[in-house]
């Protein structure tokens, strides 16, 4: 594994929504092979950061690079095709399409639809339950299954960087465990992972490094150990007990 290759780099990003300043001077970098987590409470700006990376929101200022290519002027689909896949906040599946169709769309948007079979097999190996449900509408899946489908949809695109926005949202605790195991596994197979989480304990458990957002600013960054020990993080994020 090549270490220290900078795969994602945000430099001084500012974003606003209407007149509200959402992000201020965000500097984040993700190296190849890492799991980096972005922590913060509800509304701290995690999703905004991810949406800015994907150019769903236009940043006011700052630069964003992916593998050295500047992407903050590109369109969302171009960024995705460069090799960033995302599991968005709230999954955002296509609810009236079947599991298979959801996956096929993701494959098709990246390349020709021919070699569907092989990729599908791999996905169904990872999540056997999806195979059983493959012709069921995505909207009728259970929360856990939806999460699996969302992550499958991202994985079939064979991204170099997988972005997960609150992937554990709405999952039963047991499933969260499993889910994080899966993420670790995916990472072990070579995909770099950038995830945002409210649930700090869980996320730090699998991450190499982390950033903590508060009111649109990064207040702490560092390795998992540093973050877990940091007083500031405790106060700001986990609350005093």
């Amino acid at each position: 594994m090549v270490k220290n290759e900078n795969i994602l780099d945000l430099r001084g990003v500012y974003t606003s929504f209407g007149k509200i300043k959402m992000l201020r001077n965000i500097n984040i970098h993700v190296d190849r092979g890492e799991i980096v987590c972005l922590l913060g409470s509800n509304g701290a700006g995690k999703s905004t950061t991810i949406r800015t990376i994907l150019r769903l929101i236009k940043p006011d200022k700052g630069e964003i690079y992916f593998k050295g290519t500047r992407i903050d002027g590109m369109k969302t689909y171009q960024i995705v095709r460069l090799g960033i896949s995302v599991v968005p906040e709230g999954r955002r599946l296509f609810p009236k399409m079947s599991v298979l169709e959801n996956i096929n769309i993701a494959i098709a948007s990246k390349e020709k639809i021919d070699d569907t079979g092989e990729k599908l097999d791999r996905i169904f190996e990872l999540f056997p339950v999806l195979k059983e449900r493959k012709s069921q509408l995505a909207g009728t899946l259970s929360g856990g299954e939806q999460a699996m489908l969302a992550i499958s949809r991202a994985l079939v695109q064979e991204p170099e960087l997988l972005i997960l926005d609150e992937p554990s949202f709405g999952l039963a605790p047991i499933l969260v465990e499993e889910f994080y195991e899966t993420i670790k596994e995916i990472n072990a197979q070579g995909t770099t992972i950038f995830l945002s989480e409210q649930n700090a304990g869980k996320a730090l458990g699998i991450s190499n490094r982390g950033y903590v957002l508060q009111k649109g600013e990064i207040i702490v960054e560092g390795s998992t150990e540093e973050l877990l020990d940091s007083e500031e993080v405790r106060d700001a994020y986990l609350g005093k007990e």
Partner: protein, 260 residues
């Protein structure tokens, strides 16, 4: 027998969406002068519970009563008039109106606006509105002087935190008997959260008999403010008691905090 202490009593509430059971036979009551914390993982039915109580959703089965009166089949407006006021998770202000107008509109129910007076006693209506504006400004000032100074800003121009504050102000001026707060501290930093907790405590002190239900993710808030806590998971109530008890409850720990 009607229990005098009980402000709200929801018995065996069931809420179905298609095949999905969002609430599955929940029993919750709120007493007068009490702050009840409502916690549970995301998607456990907390907000749905608020929607059922306020009449936005029509429940599938069960009964809700308020001050001994059955409100199961009442419209949101009737329920609001009885004194149940809520805030929303993603704040729902009237975004094109000014902060001041938002709070003034919170007083809508206190006096039935008459069409006649807006024509013929216009000056009185205006001075009444101005008095209300004054009151609104005062309460905004209590919460955050900065907000009071910016009271002519449109609500859509506010930061998230301020939106929540305005929402709470708006709820308070409606003189509720039961206040439902849906994640009021979301998006606030610790200092702001602390302010909020102080505000809630102050409100409780000044308004006699006010019951508050607060949905929270921030355990600090729950532990400081709530006197009793109800825990939801998958649409079911899994525990009830004071926070220290709840923290020790195994089921809750597993469901909410995860197995460790």
């Amino acid at each position: 027998m009607v229990d005098n202490k009980k402000l709200l009593d929801a018995r065996n509430v069931v809420m179905n969406f298609g095949g999905l059971k969002a609430l599955d036979g929940v029993n919750v009551h709120v007493n007068k002068n009490e702050i009840l914390g409502l916690i549970g993982p995301n998607g456990s039915g907390k907000t749905t519970f608020f929607n059922v109580i306020t009449g936005l959703y029509h429940l599938t089965d069960g009964e809700v009563s308020f001050e001994g009166e059955n409100i199961t089949d009442k419209t949101p407006q009737e329920i609001a008039r009885l004194g149940i006021i809520r805030t929303f998770q993603s704040s729902r202000l009237w975004f094109e109106l000014s902060v001041l107008d938002n709070v003034i509109l919170g007083m809508y129910m206190r006096e039935k606006p008459s069409l006649f007076s807006s024509f013929f006693k216009y000056n009185r209506v205006r001075s009444d509105l101005e008095a209300k504006a004054e009151e609104a400004k005062a309460i905004l000032n209590e919460f955050n002087p900065d907000l009071a100074n910016n009271c002519y800003k449109r609500a859509q121009e506010l930061a998230l935190v301020d939106r929540r504050r305005v929402e709470i102000c708006r709820a308070l001026v409606a003189h509720p008997k039961l206040l439902l707060l849906d994640e009021p501290s979301a998006g606030m930093d610790p200092a702001e959260t602390k302010e909020l907790m102080d505000d809630i405590k102050r409100v409780r002190k000044t308004k006699k008999g006010l019951g508050i239900v607060i949905i929270e993710h921030d355990m600090t808030v729950i532990s400081t403010v709530a006197e009793r806590v109800v825990v939801f998971n998958f649409g079911k109530k899994i525990a009830e008691g004071d926070f220290s008890q709840i923290r020790l409850n195994k089921e809750v720990r597993e469901a909410y905090l995860g197995k460790e």
